[in-house]
Symmetry: C2
DNA sequence: GCAACTTAGTTTCATAATGCAACTATTGGA
DNA sequence: TCCAATAGTTGCATTATGAAACTAAGTTGC
């Protein structure tokens, strides 16, 4: 092989998501976008990354439908990068990553921020996995099954 | 710069988790480990990755305290790689990645598996974010705050 | 209207990471 | 003891990453 392996055609949903999000910078760009950043320069400043890498990543994220370009909201002729619904849908992934650090990091005192409920200012609860009927599930209480063939979609 | 940037000293908990998990293969190795794989050859076969990369990743995961080596359970002199509690703690991250694909993938019909509640065989519910008091939270209803200084830990 | 500055990139070049294939060293089995 | 399987390591080619320099629009002051 020669190029970095792509998981695009993989049947595993985790591999497929990593194909879009699994590099060092993409999730951090999305994190900043969720925080309200929109402009090339804002991302570059905040993340301190090389501009060529940023340009490449932004293009890839747009290609994946995670970001979309839009005319700048300040009336200038520049463009902005805004999250699509698919992009905003990564929020639980970021929360899961954050909570994993909070729980298992070797030097938790170096973690600068916590995620709180805006109304009360209290920490958000740990994400929990629940069954359809609401039962709390541990990993051992779950399993992976072949996806049932989906019904014909329309015509 | 010269090396790929590390997020090890970063104060953001998301960056810190990506420092350990943010490459193309690590989360897939962990996925297989959660599934029960333990041996070098099992990972190599299942993931189809180059052996040198696998060796590098396994070492890194052990260094990060996500995997630990143990004598082989079949009595042979080989060793196994088993998940630590920190490693098993990544489960919600994998679930979040999976659910994101299920919800937003452009070709969902290519996804081969679904995660189900073992008891009922029914799909697991989407992860939800809740406040301490149980209120369901949207991203907009959360915010990031500076971490309060923690109390002295013992002596 | 134009010089100076800002913004958003692209280009160039060096270095590191990735991937395949071939090789090695134990271990296990007959 | 000999052979195969396991678990790697090494060598080499290609790609990705990163810093810095460069470029080309867009904007601003005058």
């Amino acid at each position: 092989m020669v190029k970095r392996t792509s998981f695009e055609g993989d049947a595993c949903p985790i591999a497929r998501s990593l194909d879009a999000l699994g590099d060092w910078w993409s999730l951090l760009i999305i994190r900043e976008a969720l925080f309200g950043l929109r402009r090339f320069g804002e991302f570059q400043n905040k993340l301190g990354m090389a501009k060529n890498i940023l340009a490449t990543r932004l293009r890839a994220l747009v290609d994946h439908g995670i970001l979309a370009t839009a005319p700048a909201s300040d009336g200038s002729a520049y463009q902005e990068y805004v999250l699509t619904p698919k992009g905003r849908g990564t929020f639980p992934i970021l929360v899961a990553l954050r909570q994993w650090s909070e729980e298992f990091d070797d030097r938790p005192e170096e973690i600068a921020t916590i995620l709180v409920d805006r109304e009360k200012g209290r920490p958000v609860k740990k994400l929990e996995m629940r069954a359809e009927d609401g039962r709390l599930l541990t990993p051992a209480e779950t399993m992976v099954k072949p996806r049932p063939a989906s019904r014909k979609k329309s015509a």
